[in-house]
Subunit: 216 residues, 2 copies
């Protein structure tokens, strides 16, 4: 007797909606990045510095926050389209929230930057239909965050290390960070940034441009 | 006809277990503080600096982390009893996790410091049986966190503002913070701390000692 393993992908309702989002983004050749981090690690500042350097591209920023619209206002002030999602008691964005935004989109975007709710745990469990997951870790948070919150570092495609300007006032240990990341996600590239000093953005911008070219 | 509103408190299963924890702590006259914040705002450093200043008290630290036991090891190294809870996929501690620790406690503690999982959203929804909720906000996170994550600031009894040594390298706006807190929780006291410089701890230690005296 031969044994046959019948593997069935049982997709969750969130994954099914994420697939629909993915199809929409594919059809429009839109690069979509899901940007995740702790509260206060500088997601909005990174996004503002990023869009400044991508002149000529049609960009939408989707802001996920439990409450308020501070971040969406900052983005709009910079002249870029922004959409605020308030999640109320929910600690992460989900695919259905992004789907509701898609239904309101009237133009073709080259790039959609999704700023997830500030949280190192749950956001990574919910695919939104993005092309890539980006995780930000800021220097004052310490190099031990991937030990304590491993999944988001395991599943992300790129690590942005922000607030590098605070390195002199911190005990951040890059050797220990490298050691942890080697175990969790050895192929993940890391880029060091400072939004305050406006430095380190070249590699990140190059990475985005390459990914947009890949879609063409 | 008179209308009578019958209000019924329907306690969740978590609240029922929290009540049991509360009864145990009351019986033992143990002050229990639930310490919450973003990842990397310095919960463990604040706890280490705190226990150093409370010589003569019998203290237990309960460490909540998604993964790893870095923090519990740090506490034990300082000579204080510590208990590590790993929550795996859960983004907060709950009353039942604390109840399991209680069942293993063999001595009477004056003070139990519970370090919750680093998360500004969900931990506040789960009572653990604590006497007070303490929220930490660190300077590099920015003064806008209570706008974006209001509930934890609304429901906490004391705010510790940590990493005050980084104020010179930050745009942190205390006026804006005060404005937000006035709306959310106008009676909440705030204490400014620096674990790095070991400053600002007097008021916080005084607060703890007063609360311990209140229990006697």
């Amino acid at each position: 007797m031969k044994k046959i393993n019948v593997m069935q992908d049982v997709l969750s309702s969130n994954d099914l909606t994420a697939l629909q989002n993915r199809e929409y983004f594919n059809k429009n050749k839109t690069l979509v990045l899901n940007i995740m981090s702790s509260p206060g690690s500088g997601k909005t500042s990174v996004i503002l510095e990023t869009i400044k350097r991508l002149n000529g591209l049609k960009i939408l920023v989707i802001e996920g926050d439990v409450a308020g619209d501070i971040d969406a206002k900052k983005i709009e002030k910079s002249g870029t389209d922004a959409f605020q999602i308030n999640t109320y008691d929910s600690c992460h964005l989900n695919a259905s929230m992004i789907n509701k935004v898609i239904r309101k989109i009237k133009v073709k975007y080259d790039l959609i930057l999704i700023e997830n709710v500030g949280n190192l745990i749950c956001p990574v469990e919910y695919n939104l239909g993005e092309n890539y997951k980006i995780v930000i870790l800021s220097i004052p948070e310490g190099e031990d965050k991937p030990v304590k919150y491993p999944k988001i570092f395991e599943k992300s495609d790129l690590l942005l290390i922000n607030k590098i300007d605070l390195l002199d006032y911190s005990d951040f240990d890059f050797e220990k960070l490298d050691e942890t990341l080697k175990k969790l996600n050895k192929n993940m590239k890391a880029v060091k940034l400072s939004c305050k000093k406006s430095t380190g953005f070249e590699d990140w911008i190059k990475w985005i441009k390459e990914k947009i070219t890949d879609l063409a």
